[in-house]
Amino acid sequence: MDQFLINIFGDNIIKDIIIPVPVLIWVSVFALGAVLAERKISAFMQDRIGPNRTGKWGILQTIMDVVKLFQKEFVTPIRSNKILFRTAPYLVFTAAFLGYAVLPFSSVYIGVDLNLGLFYFFAITSLGVMGLLLAGWSSNNKYSLYGGLRSVAQIVSYEIPTALSALSVVMIAGTLSMQKFCVLQGGGIQNWYIFGGPGGISRLIMIPFLLSSALILFISTLAETNRTPFDIPEADSELVAGVHLEYSGMMFAMFFFAEYAQMFAVSGIITTLFFGGWQSPFGDLIPFLNSPVMQIFWFLIKGLFFVFVQIWLRWTLPRVRVDQLMIICWKYMIPLAFINLFAIGLYLVL
Amino acid sequence: MDINEIHNLLKTVFEEAIGEVKTDKPVDPYIFIDAGKINAVSYFLRDEERLQFDSLSCLSGVDYDKDNFAVVYHLFSFALNQKLVVKVLVPKSAPVVPTISDVWATANWHEREAYDMFGIIFEGHPDLRRILCPEDWDGFPLRKDYKVQEFYNGMKVPY
């Protein structure tokens, strides 16, 4: 894609400007659609209809919400730290959006094909916690402070199981580059890492460990993106709205867009690592389904499926308490992740 | 035990502090007790073997007549399934009653409410302040001669 654009424009800089545009469009469309999807899915699960007045099936609902939020007053608490208060939402959104730079949408389209792609992604999402902490502190409000502190504890703790469970796959693949993950899983559904990756029958012995790695990765990323059952920073029945308490209008919308953007980014990581990324499940049997344009379709479908599972879990499970959250992380996830790592490492060595 | 037996038992232990027992229908029978001794009598009612009144159902203040307030205690025994009503009369000029919040924890908030509504002071109460009305309200609303105040913090009260 880079070469193609350079050939057209003959200039590196224009290429750099054009490359992120489709991703930006996708993030905006996805965030708009995800808000609506969440409301509709939750409505169907709760035996009601959900938004259906703005446009057929409520399609224009989020756009109307954005219009409404644009014309709201930016209320800043008097004794808050104004500079930090204003910048916090944008920090959170930036961190979420920067993660998209390494998501492999297709074999020819990826923002930047770093050979440290995965590592970069985890580093960037941990920057998001700074935005939340700034929001909590600068609101000059005890409830927001609680939300901010809890979110720091939660996100920083859950970085570890995330990284460890991703490491299991890294060991098998031998690379950190996101494109290489997808390329290595080519050839059909049996080569996906969730089933052990390419290789002989003996690879199947790793399936339980890889399954549990995928599960740990999924749960930890739920905690990273503050989704129920780990939505303590925004626990809206204890801390009123937690971190977002004092924000109104567009700044509030930024937090939400950041959360939905992160949801998809994280689903993208899970599909890349375990479910083949942009590889079609039919492999080379049907070559049309493996063309670069269809690959975008496969990637999006898999990502959207995990987003659906996240939404589903949100409306089913109650919330865990803060200390129980820490217990789950340190006492259960991390030892399990280590066991997986050890088992997979053992298999690879032998 | 019926009300007369309880009355006799209390009289043998506390003598003059126990007033007469009223049993005419359709009244729930009750026993008058001297205001000063209510704390000691409550301990006895709670701890004595044959009585064991381990819970206080209700504590109400009453604007009894022209000169007196009454505090009415409804007691119930879970262990022996019996009830008792005890009344204490205090003069309006000096409405002071010893507290029984150390005997039954229920009494804590009920006594605060009686203070708030009638102005009956409960001696020895750990935290006697208004509970339903705002802290700086004037007057005691459930008294028969209560006139609502004109202004509260600059807002006109009667509308």
Partner: protein, 372 residues
């Protein structure tokens, strides 16, 4: 920066808060996330019920009694009507008794559905709230075809009822019973035995039985601690002694005896028992005229009476003093939530903020009843 104190923080779970079930102010003194003390402040919804009663006639009090615990209006009216009837010595027809019991038990189910739904909401599970309210809609529909109102009825009058039940009431109630039994099982599967919910509520807010009795707890709060006491069985009023039902009691199944989960489960089981009572009553309603014993003027003789009934929240007691006129001399309503909420200070020490929310929800308070 130097004057930042770090030992204790005072946080107001102020009058406006999504989880305090009304306008209740809780002043929390916190050390980090651990609660050192909780001081409840009430009175934000005080509407001078007792003072109003002295200016109105006895039948005019009934709409005011409705509005005390607005989630459970039938039960409030029932207690008051029984008290005044005993004072006046009015004998009411059998039909009235049966219908009153059916209404009170339907109201119990509706009230517990609110309690359970909002409890799940406090814990973060948003879906059971809507499922409970779907079922509650069916109960409110039954009330609506009888007396026209969904929430505040003015239905149980002194000496009788305001309207007789329409002929479609009995078939519809039978249909509701058939519909509702499997829904309780569904609620159990979704919320009650959910591991995360159990983690949030088991071993939290343990209330020892002797302290509960001493502090005046009643209803599911008391029964959750293992005390098998229900006014419908131990001190029967109306015709409850003719029905066969059980008293669910907390038994420490998950966690300690007397924790939030026990109180929650007592409510779930009570709904099942209410269904039993309604079934037995529906089959046996005698014929009669519900308005035949309603007096033209209620003028009780001089006297006083204290009557307590088992409302879904606990024990509601009416202490009525009559001075022989048509207006009551003093009406005191001893509400269940008033005594239950005073326990929150002692029960929350040493827990975290999230637990305070769960403890408060397990007491199932309604501020209308506390403040009257």
């Amino acid at each position: 920066m130097s004057e930042l104190r770090t030992e204790e923080m005072v946080l107001n779970m102020g009058p406006q808060h999504p989880s305090t079930h009304g306008v209740l102010r809780l002043q929390l003194v916190l050390d980090g996330e651990i609660v050192i003390d909780v001081k409840p402040y009430i009175g934000y919804l005080h509407r001078c019920f007792e003072k109003h009663c002295e200016a109105m006639t006895y039948p005019q009090v009934i709409p005011y009694a409705d509005r005390m615990d607005y989630v459970n209006s039938m039960s409030n009216e029932l207690g008051y009507a029984i008290a005044v009837e005993k004072l006046c010595g009015i004998e009411i027809p059998e039909r009235v008794e049966y219908i009153r019991v059916i209404m009170a038990e339907l109201q119990r189910i509706a009230s517990h559905l609110v309690a359970l739904g909002t409890y799940g909401n406090d814990a973060g599970a948003f879906t059971p709230f809507l499922y409970c309210f779907i079922d509650r809609e069916k109960v409110l529909e039954l009330f609506e075809i009888t007396c026209g109102a969904r929430l505040l009825y003015n239905y149980i009058w002194i000496g009788g009822l305001s309207h007789d039940i329409p002929k479609e009431f009995i078939p519809k109630t039978k249909e509701f019973i058939k519909y509702f039994r499997p829904r309780i099982k569904q609620l159990n599967g979704l919320l009650s035995y959910n591991k995360i919910f159990i983690e949030r509520t088991a071993n939290v807010g343990v209330l020892p039985a002797d302290y509960a009795i001493n502090a005046g707890a009643s209803g599911p709060t008391l029964r959750g601690s293992g005390v098998k006491f229900d006014l419908r069985k131990n001190d029967p009023y109306s015709i409850y002694d003719r029905f066969d039902f059980d008293i669910p009691v907390g038994n420490g199944e998950q966690g300690t005896l007397g924790d939030c989960w026990d109180r929650y489960m007592v409510r779930v089981h009570e709904m099942e028992e209410s269904l039993k009572i309604i079934e037995q009553a529906l089959d046996n309603i005698p014929e009669g005229d519900v308005q035949s014993a309603v007096p033209k003027r209620v003028k009780p003789p001089i006297g006083e009476i204290y009557v307590r009934t088992e409302v879904p929240k606990g024990e509601l007691g009416y202490y009525i003093i009559s001075d022989g006129s048509t207006n009551p001399f003093r009406v005191k309503a001893r509400s269940a939530s008033f005594c239950n909420v005073s326990l929150i200070g002692a029960m929350s020490r040493g827990h975290m903020i999230a637990d305070v929310v769960m403890i408060l929800g397990s007491y199932d308070i309604v501020l209308g009843e506390i403040d009257r």
